[in-house]
Amino acid sequence: MFKLKSRKSFFKRLLLFIAILGPGIITGSVDNDAGGITTYSVAGAVYGYSLLWTLIPSFIVLVVIQEMNARMGIVTGKGLADLIRENAGVKVTFFIFIGLLIADIGNTTTEFAGVAGSMEVFNVSKYISVPIVAFIVWILVVKGNYKIAERLFLIFSVSLLMYVVSAIMGKPHWGEIGTSIIHPKMEFDGKSLAMIIGLVGTTIAPWMQFYMQSSVIEKGLKMRQYKYTLLDIIVGCIATVVVAFFIIVACASTLHENNIPINEAKDAALALKPLAGKLASEVFAFGLFIASIFSATILPLATAFYVCEAFGFEAGIDKKWEDAREFYVLYTSIIVIGALIILMPNAPLIAISLWSQVVNGILLPVVLVCMILLVNNKKIMGRHVNKPANNIIGWVTVIILIGLSGMLLIMPLIK
């Protein structure tokens, strides 16, 4: 007979968790992309340990936001793009997605810059590495199996933990690190403010909200698996923050103490060589390379997908080219534009990454406001609407972000 099984054992629970595992951890890994690594390295090199404290509020906000996305995905089964389109109308959607498209083309460019930079550490010219990587990424998605690629990248992204090695090789001062986290200091000048926004902005990128929600739906998660989903999100966010922490520490304990300023993640890798050894430098570069390819695959794909979802074009890599033309054209263009910009001699890379961060900064509060309104809508969420605590953290985040971004935009005008 068909027997009732006994209560779930520990292993059964563990298995359940592993099966559900994914959305949070993948999102967390994509988070530490080339742009992220660059920002963390620069923060460490220029400000030493003093900005480490920002990782704690970032972590809290990250968990709260992703939890809302996961909950919306589970309850409605609809993507964030769908929900925004259905409830906010075409104009708001158009604004958000034009912004998202521009920011993501910028971000993709940064990813290719990461590829170019990291390979230069291994003495490979960008004119070779970038076209090859762009082609591989494109063919992987269009002709290959994306799911396998995603798993593969996930395993590779464990290599981001190499930054721990890199950091320890630099012999950091743990005492100072502790003090700077317990007693946060903040200077209100334009540069450090920009750095803080950069740190928060790179950790909480708008497109990730869309990505998170879609992957929850794709996994077909249920409300009764909510505990595990939450755990997955927390693990993912911890991974993000831990990697960020060690990148900052690695750069702070070497570059900052020797007063070596840097502009790019590649500079960090190169500068590590005389200070912490060749291995530390190569480990740093390899991590950057993997992170860049991972995000260069997911970012254009995700962007093309949400834009099509919002405007009702057919989308998805399981669709044929003629059925989902808009989707493939968009996907291909994002990769081609991103790669071409990098291949231009004297490309204004720093300006591009700065501007895509600014667009991200403007977009993030808009997306967050939409999200909070949606997740509080009883018609959509039923009894799973936000609890007051979620709303408080959510709104405070929005206000702080708007405040910070506003200050950053106004600052150059005052000067």
Partner: protein, 424 residues
């Protein structure tokens, strides 16, 4: 001021509404259209008629019906005029479909294109009988119109001879989900859902949001529902089953082949599966329970227990008569078996031999003895090789005593193989 005969819904949302005496009564929020076919007998395509409008005035939203209504344009602005507006209660519009709430910006099913599309706009027309919705706009043009840049863009593109595509679907050819009372409206179209192939319907259902999925699915009759359920991805099946009443879910499961039903129940929580089995008819649930006992990777978990077997001493005529009475499914008909008194498998009969031989021939003269078969506890992995080696459409499954238990059809083997490739 020009009275408009055709216009787009997005143009009049938020417009001022006046009554017959030209006095302002509020701003238009939504339009309620009838979902009933005016003259069900004629062959005219179905067009929903505008029955009432939802108007907002000083923060309050009210429904109004009217004796006549028309839309006019003056000074670049659209205005709605309705004669003899009469306040009606919300519940009086229950049978109607709200255009903004349920269609504009929402996903609908395009019956002819067999896919899910998003509505960018709705085209309406005024004729002497009233105002009718005729088509939904799902093209780029509608999108640009909503953003408010269609005219300048059209002009620029016309200079370089690029045409912005407009794409309309007639109301007759869509199925929309009514979000106010969660049902499929446009009754005629919902019956059209049945004309779609189960696999197409499954693809469509997978693309919809959670609520819409359940709504579309529950609009199907049991037979179709069972066919569609079979085609859905496992986690979608679970979602659908969990959102149906126990009774209806059990009815649908009974209509499914026992092996598919068993696979589905295997995905559910044990308690839920038990409840469903209890609700199903004895005969079907017994079959399913037997299948559930087989371990995951065994042939038994994949087999179809619905097989036809005959005794070797009857004639072809008797076999054909039995087939005429039972009217089995195609896959059952193609694979006929011969068993002895103890239900032990001794041979197979091919449909070809059955058809070309004389009616009075006894079965044992045309049957093929010593058929290839597998045990129910064999590994699933062994099946593909056997099937391809012997070019079979199905393999009979027996227990250790050679008693016929069922058969595994090639479809299920292929599905299993594809499933494996996906999970690598």
């Amino acid at each position: 001021m020009i009275s408009k005969t055709t216009f787009f819904f997005s143009r009049i949302v938020g417009c001022k509404v006046y009554d017959g005496n030209n006095s302002f009564i509020g701003r238009l929020v939504d339009i309620a259209v009838s979902t009933e076919h005016l003259n069900p007998d004629d062959n005219e395509p179905f067009r929903p008629k505008v029955k009432a409008i939802l108007i907002k005035k000083s923060g309050k939203e009210n429904f109004f019906k009217f004796s006549s209504i028309y839309v006019a344009k003056g000074n670049g602005r659209y205005m709605v005029y309705c004669n003899e507006p009469k306040f009606i209660a919300k519940k009086e519009t229950k049978e109607n479909l709200l255009l903004k709430e349920s269609i504009l910006d929402q996903q609908i099913v395009d019956i002819n294109g067999r896919k899910v599309v998003r509505v960018n706009d709705i085209r309406l027309v005024t004729i002497s009988e009233g105002v009718f919705a005729i088509a939904v706009d799902v093209g780029v043009e509608g999108l640009l119109r909503r953003i408010g840049i269609v005219k300048p863009l059209k002009f620029i593109f016309s200079l370089i001879r690029i045409h912005i595509p407009a794409e309309f679907i007639l109301f007759d050819d869509i199925a929309a989900i009514d979000h106010t009372n969660l049902s499929i409206k446009l009754s005629k179209a919902s019956s059209k859902l049945h004309t779609l192939h189960p696999s197409d319907l499954a693809d469509i259902i997978e693309e919809l949001g959670k609520v819409s999925k359940t709504t579309v699915f529950s609009a199907l009759n049991e037979e179709k529902a069972a066919d569609v359920l079979e085609e859905l991805e496992p986690h979608e099946q679970v979602h659908i089953i969990e959102n149906m009443t126990l009774e209806k879910a059990a009815d649908v499961l009974e209509k499914m082949p026992a092996n598919e039903a068993a696979d589905l129940l295997d995905e559910l929580e044990v308690e839920k599966a038990e409840m469903l089995l209890g609700e199903m008819e004895k005969e079907s649930s017994k079959e399913v329970r037997e299948l559930l006992e087989y371990p995951d990777k065994s042939v038994g978990s994949l087999m179809n227990t619905e097989v036809l077997s005959f005794s070797e001493n009857i004639t072809i005529d008797e076999v054909l008569n039995k087939l005429r009475i039972q009217k089995p499914d195609m896959e059952v008909l193609y694979n006929l078996f011969v068993v002895d008194k103890n239900e032990k498998l001794i041979a197979t009969i091919s449909l070809r031999d059955l058809v070309i031989s004389q009616p009075q021939t006894p079965i044992h003269e045309i049957m093929k003895r010593d058929p290839i078969s597998v045990y129910d506890y064999d590994e699933v992995d062994s099946l593909a090789e056997i099937i391809s080696k012997y070019n079979m459409l199905a393999i009979p499954v027996t227990d250790k005593e050679n008693k016929l238990e069922g058969m595994v059809v090639i479809d299920d083997v292929v599905e299993d193989l594809i499933g494996k490739r996906r999970t690598v």
